[in-house]
């Protein structure tokens, strides 16, 4: 035992000598060590829990920031008017619902398209019917059949979100992700708007099929 003491004392002496020569680095290291210790003590180094979105019922209104949004149903059709013609191996997945404007200023229609996502849509296709990793829907006003230019405060619109898929069959139900936006200044233009679409909740919707 006594033989181990001399090397340990020597090591401590070397550390002290190094710390005396590099006082600033030693102080910074001590601060980092203390902060790490406090963080660990408060649970900051524990593995993060996987994000789970709250589930909401079909037809229940959800506040997303710029809108109150409702998801009513999901239908798969082989065609949907002249803008969405029948094409071999292509199906159109139509999420139906409604949005009501909550923002004091009109919200661009593009934010309506971003307010919904289908994370489990198999074989998503883009507008040119090419495979894509990021399926983005067309949001259409049910009454007008065109994309909304803007959504004003207190106004409600029945909306459909149209996706394209190359999958022959879909599950009996599918999760529809509702996304919120945050109101802030644009970093470049300094105009205040709604940005950063973020998953808010999931609505599991039964898939209805119409074959023609």
């Amino acid at each position: 035992m006594g033989g181990d003491g001399a090397p340990a004392r020597g090591a401590r002496a070397r550390v002290r000598a190094w710390a005396a020569r590099h006082r600033l680095v030693a102080a910074a290291g001590a601060v980092v060590a203390v902060l790490t210790g406090v963080t660990a003590a408060l649970g900051g180094l524990a593995p993060a829990e996987p994000d789970t979105l709250p589930e909401r019922a079909v037809g229940s209104p959800l506040g997303t920031g710029p809108f109150t949004l409702r998801v009513d149903g999901l239908t798969v059709v082989p065609e949907l008017g002249p803008a969405y013609p029948a094409s071999p191996g292509v199906r159109y997945v139509v999420v139906s619902g409604a949005v009501t404007g909550r923002s004091a200023s009109p919200v661009p229609g593009s934010d309506v398209a971003e307010a919904v996502a289908l994370p489990e849509l198999p074989d998503p296709l883009d507008a040119a019917l090419e495979p894509t990793d990021a399926a983005r829907p067309d949001a259409l006003l049910l009454e007008d059949g065109v994309a909304p230019a803007q959504v004003g405060a207190g106004l409600t619109y029945e909306v459909v979100w149209v996706y394209r898929t190359g999958a022959a069959d879909l599950a009996a139900s599918m999760p529809v992700q509702v996304r919120s936006h945050t109101e802030r200044e644009d970093n470049i233009t300094r105009e205040v708007g709604w940005f950063d679409p973020t998953p808010l909740a999931t609505v599991r919707v039964p898939v209805e099929r119409r074959d023609g």
């Binding site: 803007q150 004003g152 405060a153 207190g154 106004l155």
Partner: protein, 195 residues
């Protein structure tokens, strides 16, 4: 030793004074948004307003749950406010580029949300009559005003502000309103502002 501390204290005081000055500049002076506020010209329905380049007169405001444009009906979960106005420009081609409605709750609605109708620019010597339909909710307040702006960006520009209510009440709700296409007519020759 004492002199070194004095130098450090002076440096710290200079840095703090600089930070304080910066804080005063950013919070104590007029903000850009105040400087950029539009210059509002208030007028009643039927009263002409002379702006920098054009003269604008709103001569009718009406409300309905449905409007008809080129044979197409457009319903609403709220109401359409339909404004009919005329524009003339004595010297240069000018336009009303944006029509919007605000009320005391701080909410704002713009025309062009669902209808295609826009008002073209009017060349000198002509009078242009336009109709703008703005979709608003049913709970639009009686203090609502229409804003007619010569440019999409209203900042630091003149804007016509017209209260919609007469005798404290918004226009009566009609069953439906036809949104007319823009119509040019000859304008009486006006004397150009300042000339």
């Amino acid at each position: 030793m004492r002199r070194a501390w004095l130098t450090r204290l002076t440096a710290t005081a200079v840095v703090l004074a600089g930070l304080l000055l910066g804080r005063l500049i950013t919070t104590g002076l007029s903000t850009e948004s105040v400087l950029e506020d539009p210059i509002e010209h208030r007028a009643a329905i039927g009263e002409p307003v002379q702006l920098r380049e054009n003269t604008v007169r709103v001569f009718e405001a009406a409300r309905a749950p449905t409007v008809v444009e080129q044979g197409l009906e457009r319903g609403s979960s709220g109401r359409w406010v339909v404004l009919t106005y005329e524009v003339s420009a004595p010297r240069v081609t000018a336009a009303v580029a944006q029509v919007s409605i605000t009320d005391g709750s701080g909410r704002l609605w713009r025309s062009g949300s669902r209808l295609g109708g826009s008002c073209p620019a009017v060349p000198p010597g002509l009078l242009l009559t336009c109709t703008a339909a703005v979709e608003v909710p049913e709970d639009l307040r009686a203090d609502a005003v229409a804003r007619l702006a010569p440019a999409l960006d209203e900042r630091a520009d003149a804007v016509v502000v017209v209260p919609l209510a007469r005798d404290g009440a918004l226009p009566a709700v009609q069953e439906r309103i036809e949104v007319a296409a823009p119509r040019f007519v000859s304008a009486p020759v006006e004397e150009a502002p300042g000339g």
